[in-house]
């Protein structure tokens, strides 16, 4: 099997990680594809993977009884998906559905957690990057809540 190292190094999220750090975590990663309308995961499911999106679009959505499906955000190439793998009870908070053909790297959550515990420098590097992603997403969600285009 071809090594995933070059693919990992390419992804925005892992930029700046040292060669040996990449090598350390590559064993937790696999290359994965989703077809349009395929679910990456469902709300309530066990959150066992951490995705780095390489291509395609994903709808982050919830189903509301009586209302139907409500998409809250679109995840695209370069984004990361999922952080419920970090903390117990490791349950997904949304559905994630591919909108078109999606290419991604899926890290096994438990594996990645273990690696971060073993190598704290690696752990710090991963957490720092993840925190930044979450910060940006939180800002966007807050802006969404402000309903800035609403009049009156």
């Amino acid at each position: 099997m071809e090594s995933l190292e070059p693919i990992l190094k390419e992804h925005q999220f892992l930029k700046g990680l040292a060669e040996d750090q990449i090598r350390f975590i590559v064993g937790c990663a696999r290359n994965i594809r989703y077809d349009p309308n395929q679910f990456l995961f469902r709300e309530g499911e066990e959150a066992s993977t951490f995705h780095l999106i390489r291509g395609g679009k994903i709808a982050l959505e919830n189903f509301i009884p009586g209302k139907g499906v409500v998409q809250v955000e679109t995840i695209v190439e370069g984004d990361v998906l999922g952080w419920s793998w970090l903390y117990p009870p490791h349950r997904r908070s949304n559905d994630a559905r591919a909108l078109d053909p999606v290419r991604a790297i899926a890290f096994d959550g438990a594996c990645l957690r273990k690696k971060c515990e073993e190598d704290h420098d690696l752990g710090y590097a991963i957490m720092k990057r993840l925190l930044y992603q979450i910060l940006q997403r939180l800002e966007r969600v807050r802006m969404q809540r402000l309903d800035v285009y609403k009049v009156g």
Binding site: Q136, E139, V148
Partner: protein, 285 residues
């Protein structure tokens, strides 16, 4: 900082409008409509510079400051996209072809199209903010080789609130322009992006050392956008915002539109960010 206004009518008193005919009215969304007004015959050049506004008068009702949102080089028609939010704009919404409307202007400082030459251009529009940017887009397309990368980011509340949907598709079809559209709230049948417009910025590619950003939308949306734009490495003297305040005269004598020491009607509405960023952080200034 102010460029010369292009006047097409000579008024006896600067508060007296010229009378124009309504050529047509189009519904854009549930509360936004576009008025096409008679322009000049094209002989005196463009009727406004992108980013400028006119004071539109409805007989017996009042005036409202509305950005010009058409093509400045097509001066046979004067186009304004308007949101019906108050007495005057709601009255405008009831005008029909053949009606008359008063026009004073154009007023204001326009978008920095000259400064943007030779550079990448990022236009970020929120909601009705696309209307004042559209004339700039037309001018950029008309002189496309003069600019670097051109990126148009547009966010609206819901798919039903998107302006100029067909035209945006045309822009998207150009190979020399990146267009991304998103909505805050999705609706059934929407297959496009969902999320705030600032979320599109990390996905753009441009040279932050040689770029100009033009932002237009609600002030809070522009403040969030500025954060993302600066994260990309753009300095505040490369970013331009379009401000809005209460206006009665349009040319700096009624006092209403003051924003710190600036008159939004003549020092703006387009401001370079480094001149006003300190004001954006002061509540109720």
């Amino acid at each position: 900082m102010t460029t010369a206004a292009i006047r097409t009518d000579q008024y006896t008193h600067p508060m007296v409008p010229g009378v124009r005919e309504v050529l047509g009215i189009t519904r854009e969304t549930s509360d936004v409509f576009t008025l096409r007004l008679s322009g000049n015959d094209g002989s005196s050049g463009p009727s406004f510079a992108p980013g400028q506004f006119n004071m539109l008068y409805v007989f017996g009702v009042g005036e409202s400051a509305i950005s010009a949102s058409g093509d400045p080089d097509r001066s046979q028609e004067l186009i304004h996209t308007i949101r019906a939010v108050g007495t005057v704009t709601r009255a405008m919404q009831t005008l029909r072809r053949g009606a008359r409307i008063g026009v004073r202007g154009p007023y204001g400082t326009p978008w920095p199209l000259a400064e943007a030459r030779g550079r990448d251009v990022i236009l970020v529009a929120g909601g009705i903010g696309l209307a004042p940017l559209r004339p700039a887009i037309y001018q950029i397309f008309r002189n496309r080789p003069e600019y670097g990368r051109v990126i148009i980011l547009y966010g609206a509340r819901t798919p039903g609130d998107l302006l100029y949907a067909k035209e945006i598709e045309q822009w998207r079809g150009r190979f020399d322009t990146d267009v991304m559209v998103t909505v805050d709230k999705a609706e059934r049948g929407w297959y496009g992006q969902v999320g705030v417009v600032t979320g599109l910025i990390p996905r753009t590619e441009f040279d932050p050392n040689n770029a100009i950003a033009m932002l237009c939308g609600p002030e809070i949306m522009m403040r969030f956008t500025i954060r993302e734009i600066e994260r990309r490495g753009m300095a505040s003297d490369q970013v331009y915002v379009s401000m809005e305040r209460n206006m009665k005269c349009g040319w700096g004598v009624c006092g209403h539109c003051q924003f710190g020491p600036f008159f939004v009607c003549k020092d703006g509405p387009v401001f370079r960010l480094d001149h006003v960023s300190h004001l954006l952080g002061i509540r109720e200034i």
